[in-house]
Amino acid sequence: MSGITEDDLHGYADGQLPAERRLEVEAWLAAHPEDEARVRAWQAQNRGLHEAFDSVLNEPLPLGMVRTANVRRRGSRPLWRAAAAVMALAATGLLGYGIGVQSRPVAMEYAALPHDAALAHVVFSPEQRHPVEVDAQHAEHLVGWLSKRLGHELHAPDFQALGFELLGGRLLSGQAGPVAQFMYQDRQARRVTLYVRRDGAGRVDTGFRHVREDGVEVFYWVDRDLGYALSGAIDKAEMGRLADAAYHQISR
């Protein structure tokens, strides 16, 4: 025996062995087909788990959950009370999809737009395996699908002239209902996201606004029924140019 233990077999299956030990296990497996069959079966289990559950990473993220995580803890009571309300909503299991939004003043909705957009940006833009739910190769389907879910015709702006390609998009659930997120990436793999939701129907359009949320530059505006927020952790001037392009293409 070359001192190969059961633990080594697991370490091999999980890719947790140093290179040298891995070679020793490989040699052992070549000579012990029964062990090899077990190790292959364990690796198949790992793959099966990913196939079965990786899709959860893509599901609409309850933004209430995100808010819970993001409560600012400076001891200010109103914020804690707001957080408690969100938690209470979460407990009903009915997070998102319009619950409780009617009682929320429109101005507050509007204030939450860049904040929520920045949160959604922070959650999904670092994602390597599943940055988007539907990729840009199915752009038409993507835009159609998100339009249908929001109940409003959407457009994904084209940022190619500014060096950003559409990666795809996903559907999120916000407190005020479904939210669309389009993600773009440039050649240096920097990402910006455009967050779109129905917002304050019937309100007068607003001009551009800018806010910096925890290192994320957010430009946001309301155009007819929709609120838009473009988020990215890149230079403010560059973000401004992208937002300007989006604004002009969308309002065209």
Partner: protein, 165 residues
Amino acid sequence: MSKQTELIQHIPRLRRYARALAGDAVRADDLVQDTLERALVKLDLWRPGSDLRAWLFTLMHNLFVNQIRASGPAHCELDEAADVPVRGGQSDALAVRDIHAALAQLPSEQRAVILLVGLEQFSYAEAARVLGLPIGTVMSRLSRARERLREIMEGRAVVKLQVVK
């Protein structure tokens, strides 16, 4: 990056683990929500620079264990559950359904180990810390979980395992 922002980045993975562990989406998201609330209260205890992900999974694990205890003996029966033959491998969709069913038949402590290692790709040492167990216990549970899962997925009766020395 603020602590809260870091917290948020872990939500999708917490949800994935919870879904596989708890077996249904509502219970799983409740577990994530509870974990986040607990984390928020205790965030000052977490040292920046240490592994936030492992810390969050530890909180979640403790909440899960408490729930199991509170819900009583129903879960213990899982340990004794007879092997229900579930056929695997005919198609991907079927295989995915099978793995859900098979996981549900594992005792919860075995399920936790196999998910932390196989799905969440924690190292054995990290998994041991999350579960508050010696690494040797983690390895023996992992071994039992994998063989049990294999038996269930292949729909065969329990056989005595060969142990490599």
